[in-house]
Symmetry: C2
Subunit: 582 residues, 2 copies
């Protein structure tokens, strides 16, 4: 707003022009080129770290985007464009995807039971819920485009269709969603990969674009400025390469759960769980060890020369067995002869049910998992550690530079880490000695329980490193099970009962304070301790600034948020930062 | 050991004579009477607080105890003698008890699923597990005599019998156990109430006994010395009277769960849970409110003149509905026509199953419970608060002196308490004003989550009091679900992975530190704040000493441990204390 009065131009009111992430980078680049601002100013003040990941997502072709009219608009819950056939249940999403179909999962809201269908979908569309709803949080975490809370859409789940403004979309009909601006199209629109993605893959046209030039120039400045190193959470060679291409300086969290899954391994894993003596258990480990060694070979090769923090098995064992209720129903129906089973099959099912029953827990998050598993099943961690050390030794012999770090999860007393280390370190040393290679393998722990945080001084005496597992630390500090609070988190946000969603941004007064205690007392007890974070907060700009402030050495986040973390940690050092995540 | 050499008597070695709790008190009394020690020395150094509760338990008649030979000996896991018929499953214990039989539950080990049978039993006998096994911890918590780890006993669960040294005990045969010394008798032995118990009930012979005189004299000294007040955890008028007789100075925790149970209330509670609109929900509250008012009338009358801290409803709603697996099996069998149900009945069951499914949680301990319920079901806490205020107003009008304090459980942010208080305080004030009575009702919160502890300063601004819920605080700080860690807690203790059982004695470096932070920062923010503890640790002598040291105002424990806490808190003040709990 302005007025001209007595020959003078008065600016009555100004407001910040809303720019897309693309515009931010291009404008900043032009201004630097024209000498209006310097590079540091551009990086510090003109770029929004929290929106950088948008630039890596596919977009709807520009001419189509201009020409087409959306049928609905919701919240831009997770950036990127996605095209697929409409499905209305998570099970359908999962099944259709298995058959090779690209699907958009349409739901009123999602809940944890829908996870398998969500991750199988190209995109997610909900008619209810905000940008912190279950659908939105999962979608962002998994890098899946999502539009949430598109309230004009009426979903008829039973009839498997939606209707909006007179248009009807039935199961199997095409949908296109744009999670960057929240638009929904009832047709199949052509998308194109993002310019940055194409440039990273080496496409020459993309490499000539102004956006890529801006990205290269400013990220170089950011990397020079930042103090924090940036690692990625990656579990496979594929994810590791992906992370490395985006500038990851190592893997901060390599989960090993998936190494216990898959047809080839299922029988051995079941044997490992059901075994009632050590010899049977060992047979299972003998099957798993060479397979897991192959897994580690691939990951260490992809990350050659960079550290890879491997977390030993964490989830409770019953996650590898059938669901208790389903199995109970199966057995009951078989016993009533409704379902015909051979006597032997029924006996086996009953035996399995007895084991599932035995392992069933009231609160599995607080049960037999993490280091407790390592103590309860002594051969398990030893097998994993052998596979790691064997893989590293083999690569080292070939002249490669593997840098594994072994991480024990869920430690809560110093003695747990001490005893595990006493058991496992000699296993590693023997393998390396036998292979004749010289390699230092660090042992450390997650700090993910409040008691571990306040007793960090004692624990640090037995640790080479700490990695803050802020997902579990937030769950236990708040007493919030992420799987369960979906039902009331919305109400909490609406009524401002929480300062912010503690699973998106680190809760500084509570969880942050526990971290601060652990950093100070851990370092005081062990000057060589190095510290990182591998919870999802590691990719949230506000949380990255906090991690910089309390003096962590690195943050680790999902691969596609690595550039976000690189920029945010530079802005943390440079002061005055534009880091809001959305 | 001694020797006489060159006419001199040399004491080579001495050891402390092991005395029973009874002997401790009587010897100390005699020594004071003879002027060998003074009263303070007796109370400070000669009495073991942790063993005082033994003196309140029934004992086997002295002449029988001398004459009879035990068939087995195990660990003295929970003091007192118990007589009953042997049963071998928790379900049998429960059923037999319902029919009016006195039973001893015999198991190899117990687990949380056995709870209903354990509390229905006179005593518990296990052949495995130590003094911190599930059976032992529950038995002590509930005041049920128990002998654990009687390893010479062979239990045949299927045949429902045990055999030991050639003796066989079948289901329904008599057993007597003595949890004070760990002995087991394969017959029905006569027991007698403890002298102290009889004296408290006014029996004149007991009142003339030396033990009672010692108890009266020394507890008077203890009460004069101690700084901590001692309250009890009691949920009914009966328990309240019991607590008062043992010297409780109020109720620190009155749980309200049981006010939602019982035939008369079950239908209303189900309606409250299943209601899909506020009008239906309100109808349920209208049924429950007058019944709950009666409950509070009884408790406030029993505790006339003393504070009663009422905890609003805490457990998740699905605890009031059928088990998910059982209901799923029922529905599956009915649908397969194995079990014949009328169409309408089946529909109802299916509807109920849908609701149970909806409310089912992955980790109920960290789900929709405590204050979250109060926020989610706005009418619920208002109904409870009306019942409390109505009962208090009625008694006040009759010239009585009710002192209710309203406690909101599971608070984790200041805003939760602030908003609940803003909703509920006017409800109380209106009722008291309408009744024309002058009464100050305090509002406070449990501190039972780590975040609440480190953010206590903010929370204290909205609280009149804090009560440490150290059960849940220990569960979340350690990430230990009490229901689930039974399986590995034994292994942890064996391998010294834990300093002590954190559910028996407060873990000072972890949980204790969180408490200390909350005390200091809570008091700094609100000088009028009063502070107590209502976890089971409130009756553990070592924990009582810790609570004294960090400056709590009171401890609250189960009624039969009130004398223990009175003595322990005196010893805490007097220094050099003999407080070990066992």
């Amino acid at each position: 707003e302005f007025t001209v009065e007595e020959g003078k131009l008065w600016l009555l009111q100004t407001r910040v022009g809303k720019r897309t992430s693309l515009a931010e980078w291009v404008i900043a680049y032009d201004m630097v080129q024209e000498g209006l601002i310097d590079e540091a100013t551009a990086v510090r003040d003109r770029l929004t770290a929290g929106k950088l990941d948008e630039l890596f997502k596919p977009i709807i072709q520009a001419e189509l985007k201009d020409a087409k009219e959306p049928v609905a608009k919701g919240l831009n819950a997770s950036p990127g464009a996605a095209v697929g056939k409409a499905v209305f249940t998570a099970d359908d999403a999962h099944e259709w995807a298995e058959k090779g179909e690209k699907v958009i999962l349409v739901r009123r809201e999602t809940n944890p039971d829908d996870y398998h269908g969500m991750v199988a979908s190209q995109g997610i569309l909900t008619s209810a819920g905000g940008t912190n709803s279950h659908a939105a949080v999962v979608a962002r975490g998994e890098g899946i485009p999502a539009v949430c809370g598109a309230e004009s859409i009426r979903i008829d789940r039973k009839a498997k269709k939606l209707s909006v403004k007179g248009t009807e979309v039935k199961e199997g009909d095409w949908l296109t969603i744009d999670g960057t601006d929240g638009t929904v199209y009832a047709e199949e629109l052509e998308t194109e990969p993002s310019v940055l993605e194409a440039a990273i893959l080496g496409e020459s046209e993309a490499r000539r674009s102004k956006l890529w030039k801006a990205y290269e120039r400013f990220m170089k400045v950011a990397d020079k400025q930042r103090r924090l190193r940036v690692r990625a959470n990656a579990d496979t060679p594929e994810q590791s390469r992906n992370a490395r291409e985006r500038g990851a300086q190592g893997i901060g969290l390599c989960r090993t759960e998936h190494m216990f899954l898959g047809e080839e391994r299922a029988a051995a894993v079941r044997q490992m769980i059901l075994a009632d003596n050590e010899a049977d258990e060992q047979k299972a480990y003998d099957v798993l060890e060479p397979l897991q060694k192959q897994d580690f070979l691939g990951i260490f090769e992809a990350m050659d020369g960079l550290p890879v923090t491997v977390r030993l098995l964490d989830p409770p064992l019953h996650e590898f067995l059938p669901d208790h209720t389903e199995l109970s129903v199966e057995v009951a129906l078989a016993e009533a002869r409704v379902v015909k089973l051979k006597k032997k099959e029924l006996e086996e099912k009953k035996e399995l049910l007895a084991k599932v029953d035995e392992l069933r827990e009231a609160n599995p998050m607080l049960g037999l998992r993490g280091v407790r598993l390592g103590i309860f099943k002594p051969g398990l961690y030893a097998m994993q550690v052998r596979a790691i050390a064997d893989a590293a030794a083999e690569l080292k012999q070939k002249g490669k530079d593997p840098r594994p770090e072994i991480m024990i999860p869920l430690v809560v007393t110093a003695e747990e880490l001490q005893q595990m280390r006493e058991e496992l370190e000699p296993v590693v040393e023997r393998i390396l000695r036998d292979a004749g290679v010289d390699l230092h393998v660090e042992f450390g722990t997650m700090i993910e329980l409040p008691r571990a945080a306040v007793c960090a001084g004692e624990i640090a005496e037995h640790a080479d490193f700490f990695s803050f597992g802020t997902n579990d630390l937030s769950q236990t500090a708040f007493g919030f099970s992420r799987d369960d609070i979906g039902g009331f988190l919305g109400l909490y946000e609406e009524r401002k009962l929480l300062p912010a969603n503690p699973f998106a941004t680190i809760d500084e007064p509570g969880v942050g304070r526990l971290m601060d205690i652990a950093v100070n007392e851990g370092r005081a007890a062990n000057g060589n301790l190095h510290l990182g974070i591998c919870g999802e907060h590691g990719g949230d700009p506000e949380s990255v600034v906090f991690c910089d402030r309390i003096g962590l050495d690195y943050v680790s986040c999902s691969p596609f948020r690595v550039p976000v973390a690189r920029l945010a940690s530079a802005q943390a050092v440079m002061g005055e930062a534009t880091t809001s995540s959305r």
